[in-house]
Symmetry: C2
Subunit: 199 residues, 2 copies
DNA sequence: CGGAATTTGTGCGTTAACGAACAACTTTCT
DNA sequence: AGAAAGTTGTTCGTTAACGCACAAATTCCG
């Protein structure tokens, strides 16, 4: 649910933010040291210095905690997007480059420790968040252009873009060949640009 | 009161420890940036991310918070003392060298920003804590030697040693001449050793 | 000087985190 | 296999921290 986007409601309690951050950080630092599957809740609790009951008031289990970890990754993205100089870099692909670079940075420290399951969870979640973000951005842009539609429905397009992105991302991570973030970003562009152009 | 010495009672609540540490750390980092006197409670609260009422449940005011800051400095001392190999380095002066070195390290970052008042508070508190620590150590040692007394009362001796130490420390800080920690420690030894030897 | 603004310290109803205990389940060891 | 050890997820009474509002004291400034 709401990452921290809408200005509605009162802002979150200090304690809530603290506990969440402590747990998220604890998991992150643990993943840097050992495989995700071998990590046990007690370890997270100890490192975060948080009680067991507090954990389960915020997350349903370890996987849920992991899934929420991407907010740190993707959370800062819309800020950069909306704060950009309104120049011309806000196409539907504004997100890809940044994420590719981020993944590239974290590749050797954390990502390879996730294992099949952890990676699947994160990809699923990333897909989820991306769909939402892209859909919003697409709608905003469509509204600027006087609702000119008739092509591909925007929600389908969003799902397509997110899906393709995660696919490429996954392939990139699995692939042994060392490709630069920029190069794989170009690959991604090559795949989806024709579709975008035809719209 | 009790720093964290006695094994009595249940250990402190996580929340208490967290709040205390957050406030202590916040003050410390603020002193690194501006004069102690110019720091206002609100600033400490904001940086520590702690509510106003939480502050006053632990400390009576800003000065009280500062005073409790030395526990970080002196707190680790007894551990080192009791964990030493029981060899022969536990004279009554085991504390001085360590503290001189610590002060030397923090000299340019924090100490000079304390001002008259802040320094006075810290010295007073340091004296207080030292008296207690030295007295305990003196008693322990006296008990080992079959209560052989008749010389200077141990509590007086403790006060004397602490007082002299703080005096030398203060002089060292104020003095323009650059004296090494070891050198000033030797000076301190020279002052009190005769008295100790005559006992 | 004197009013405005800020800072201080306190009170209080609400809520999140605590800690401890628990049954159910999984792992490990022999 | 079967006992011992460890892990998970839940419950519940207690308590610290929250946020907010307030009067008193202090500092700022025209």
């Amino acid at each position: 649910m709401g990452i921290r986007s809408m200005p509605a409601g009162k802002r979150t309690d200090r304690r809530v933010a603290r506990t969440r951050k402590a747990l998220l950080d604890a998991l992150h630092s643990l993943i840097c040291e050992k495989d995700y599957d071998s990590i046990v809740v007690k370890e997270i609790l100890d490192r975060a210095d948080v009680g067991r009951s507090a954990f389960y008031t915020h997350f349903v289990d370890k996987d849920d905690l992991l899934a929420h970890g991407i907010h740190d990754i993707v959370g800062g993205l819309p800020a950069r997007h909306s704060q950009s100089d309104e120049s011309r870099n806000d196409g539907p692909l504004w997100f890809s480059q940044t994420i590719f670079e981020h993944v590239d940075r974290q590749r050797r420290t954390t990502i390879h420790r996730l294992g099949r399951r952890g990676a699947a969870i994160l990809h699923q979640r990333l897909n989820q968040v991306l769909v939402k973000m892209i859909a919003e951005q697409l709608d905003t842009e469509a509204r600027k252009q006087h609702k000119r539609d008739g092509g591909i429905p925007s929600d389908l397009l969003a799902q397509y873009l997110a899906g393709t992105f995660v696919l490429v991302l996954n392939w990139w991570i699995e692939s042994k060949s060392q490709i630069s973030p920029s190069a794989v970003n170009d690959l991604f562009s090559s795949l989806v640009m024709p579709v975008l152009a035809s719209n």
